[in-house]
């Protein structure tokens, strides 16, 4: 809000300021130099409240800073289940497993929306209330401030000597001349000045400066509101999906082709642009030797992109931080790995499986693990193990890779036979083998183009070779540009409100027989004001004409 201090401190300060000036002059220092709403507790006496009053009270409470802070705290609290429990958005398989393992608790959590916290209605309620609170506070204050911007500085209080900063001296200048000099100086220093010319006894000048502090404050809050709305719009209408594409295969931008996908509420599947691309080659070069041995020097995906079915394909290269932009959507290169090519034949020699299989890297040298499921043979087979681009075997930790490049590729797998658990219809992760209904046949280390004849005549497994895969993030965020503009504006507004000091200066001249008595006093909104300095410059301006 305005500043880190609470409303209470503001009231104490204003009470102190008013106490400096005498009781009958409470209004002489002018209206308070901020648009903070008056404290309802200082209104006199209890009153009977009608429904309109209750509504007004509810609105006042909702738009107060305390409620906004409470809602922010609730928002943070509401994110806790999102971190502890598996979420549908990121790990739906784990959610299904949780529901299967613990149906009572799982169903309760599901009913409360704890498996999808950020899409749940109560989270949306907190977020919306926060938005309403922010909007309801900022907008009326903006209107009030707009009105105040045009106001004139208030007239000088009767006793200037009671103000925090005060100077007085005598000069031999004529009273009106002194006033004019002071007024001109202040106007040149860009103060808003109101002059009350000398009418025979006294004349005064009232000046105020620093309106842009409150302007900056309000710009900051409106920009914050804009930022929240822009982020909301972006997630409402945007989408983000991830997909792993193997070399030699393609990707078409339709919902069923993504490995994981999350979109906003008003997003429809048919609004995905119908582009497609094929991964022709994934290039990666590693640093060999030296301190950074093994770190990639280059990795790039060479794609052939088609903007819509039937169009000619165009060659494009995608690298990290150089995304592909097609159809209003950005395609980022995220990661890469190895995909060994496996052929499995059954006991009768028929090919029952042939494909490249994605193995996921576990460390910087691309020791990769993966699973191959062969469901269309009787009994079903499963293979799981390691693919090592530069294979080595350790006596304690087993097979591992020594370098990320495929200098010495090897496959270390175990074979299982039994029921894969796929036929019952429950979706399974393709990277996990459920061996609860399977028995292990054996393990084998294989080199490219070698064949393993499975024990008990179950068939053969051939390690044909390996290819690479690249993973892509495909996303559209319509609110991103607006969020950036809002963020920059918010920082600018905040800087303005922190750097600008709001202050008032009054000058009163009284013509006396010994000369002109000049009194200058100043009042500031913030603690670290430099009103004293401003007064000193005005005094210095009149200094040549000062008599001690």
């Amino acid at each position: 809000m305005n500043d880190p201090r609470s409303d209470r401190d503001t009231r104490v300060r204003e009470t102190r300021e008013r106490a400096v000036v005498t009781v009958e002059e409470t209004s002489d220092a002018g209206p308070p130099m901020s648009t903070a709403p008056a404290d309802p507790a200082e209104r006199d006496g209890p009153a009977r409240l009608g429904p309109l009053d209750w509504a007004r009270w509810a609105w006042r409470v909702l738009t107060s800073m305390r409620t906004a802070l409470l809602l922010l705290f609730l928002l943070a609290l509401a994110s806790i289940p999102g971190s502890i429990l598996p979420q549908r958005g990121t790990n739906p398989i784990r959610v299904t497993e949780y529901l299967a393992n613990d149906p009572v608790k799982g169903k309760l959590f599901d009913r409360l929306g704890l498996f999808d916290v950020f899409a749940s209605p109560w989270f949306a309620a907190i977020y919306l209330l926060l938005l309403v609170s922010l909007a309801g506070c900022v907008l009326p204050r903006s209107l009030q401030h707009a009105r105040m911007l045009r106001s004139r500085p208030p007239a000088a209080p009767r006793t200037l000597s009671r103000l925090p900063e005060h100077r007085s001296f005598h000069t031999d200048l004529d009273a009106q001349v002194a006033l004019n000099i002071a007024a001109d100086h202040l106007r040149r220093a860009r103060w808003r000045v109101d002059a009350f010319p000398h009418d025979g006894t006294t004349g005064s000048v009232a000046a105020e400066k620093g309106y842009s502090r409150e302007t900056g404050n309000l710009i900051f809050h409106i920009a914050l509101l804009g930022l929240v709305v822009a982020v909301g719009v972006g997630s409402f209408a945007g989408f983000r999906g991830y997909v792993i594409v193997r070399e030699g295969t393609s990707f078409a931008d339709t919902r069923s082709q993504f490995d994981s996908f999350a979109s906003g509420r008003i997003f429809t599947d048919s609004s995905l642009p119908p582009f497609s691309f094929s991964l022709n080659k994934f290039r990666v070069e590693y640093q060999r030797g030296g301190q950074q041995s093994g770190s990639p020097r280059l990795f790039a995906a060479d794609l052939s992109v088609t903007t819509s079915p039937g169009q000619a394909a165009q060659a494009q290269r995608v690298q990290v931080n150089e995304p592909l932009e097609v159809g209003g959507v950005k395609v980022f290169l995220v990661g890469y790995g190895y995909a060994p090519i496996i052929t499995v034949k059954n006991a009768r020699g028929e090919v029952v499986f042939h494909d490249s299989v994605v193995f996921l890297p576990q460390d910087g040298n691309f020791t990769s693990t993966g699973v191959i499921k062969i469901p269309d043979t009787a009994p079903q087979l499963g293979l799981q193990g390691f693919f090592l681009p530069s294979a080595a075997v350790d006596a304690v930790q087993g097979p591992y890779s020594t370098f990320p490049a495929a200098d010495n590729p090897a496959l270390f797998i175990s074979a299982w036979v039994g029921d894969l658990g796929l036929d019952n219809g429950r979706p399974q992760s393709v990277y996990k083998l459920d061996t609860t209904k399977m028995t292990r046949l054996g393990i084998k280390a294989m080199r490219p183009t070698s064949t393993w004849a499975l024990p008990r005549g179950r068939g053969t497994v051939t390690f044909d070779g390996y290819s690479r895969w690249a993973s892509f993030a495909i996303a559209r965020d319509p609110g991103k540009a607006y969020a950036l503009i809002a963020a920059i504006t918010a920082i600018a507004g905040l800087s303005l409100s922190l750097l600008v000091r709001r202050r008032r200066i009054w000058i009163r001249v009284t013509q006396a027989k010994t000369g002109t008595h000049v009194e200058i006093a100043g009042l500031a909104r913030s603690e670290h004001s430099t009103v004293g300095d401003d007064l000193d410059t005005v005094v210095a301006h009149l200094h040549p004409h000062r008599t001690p």
């Binding site: 507790a41 549908r88 209330l129 082709q257 979109s263 429809t268």
Partner: protein, 213 residues
């Protein structure tokens, strides 16, 4: 002469009012949140798929489009898993059931016997079945059709190109999903997730009952 109310009394009442205000603010916030959450509608168009398989039951379901809301006619042409060419011309003026599947997908394996049975039931009655095997190799797809004795051809669509052409009105967003095209090759209905005998049967009957104009 009235005594002006001394300031200490006011500060006490201010303190009490402030404390009760704090409490009221908290209660109000919670009550309003509860009220708003009750007002929100039941969910969730933003279901998440993993490997194309639906894991959120709210995205699974059947959609039927009345004839005036159907998009333009669709032409599918591709190669079957055995290498033979196939187009939707083979199903002119017939109801066409398009099933999107993959051999590694659990729900697809569960629904395969149902589809094989329905294909047998409607054989020769003006209803044609065709599959689209996506994100899969031809070898694995063929092994799948052999395992379940699928009597109808399946088009090979490793790259998803065929599915792109179907994304106009009711896209088959998950694996498995089933589209039912009417006699004029327009998408009339869609089932996301594994089909049931009664569900798909009813949808086929409903679309088949419409006259081709």
């Amino acid at each position: 002469m009235e005594l002006v109310t001394a300031t200490p009394a006011r500060s006490l009442s201010t303190r009490m009012a402030r404390r009760s205000r704090c409490w009221r603010a908290g209660v109000t916030g919670l009550l309003t949140a509860a009220l708003l959450s009750g007002c929100s509608q039941a969910t969730n168009g933003a279901g998440v798929l993993v490997g194309g398989q639906p894991t959120d039951t709210t995205t699974v379901g059947m959609t039927f489009l009345p004839p005036d809301q159907r998009a333009a006619a669709i032409t599918l042409s591709g190669t079957t898993l055995t290498g033979a060419p196939w187009t939707t011309h083979a199903a002119t003026r017939k109801v066409l059931v398009v099933n999107v599947w993959a051999s590694w997908c659990g729900p697809c394996r569960a629904e395969a016997p149902i589809l094989a049975a329905l294909a047998g039931k409607y054989a020769g009655r003006g209803v044609q079945f065709v599959g689209i095997d996506t994100r899969d190799s031809d070898t694995n797809g063929e092994a799948f059709t052999k395992t379940f004795g699928i009597p109808y051809p399946s088009l090979s669509d490793r790259s998803g190109q065929l599915l792109l052409t179907l994304s106009a009105s009711l896209p088959p967003s998950a694996i498995p999903s089933t589209l039912v095209l009417d006699r004029r090759s327009r998408v009339a209905g869609r089932i996301i997730g594994p089909v049931t005998m009664s569900g798909l049967g009813a949808l086929i009957e409903r679309v088949a009952a419409e006259q081709a104009k």
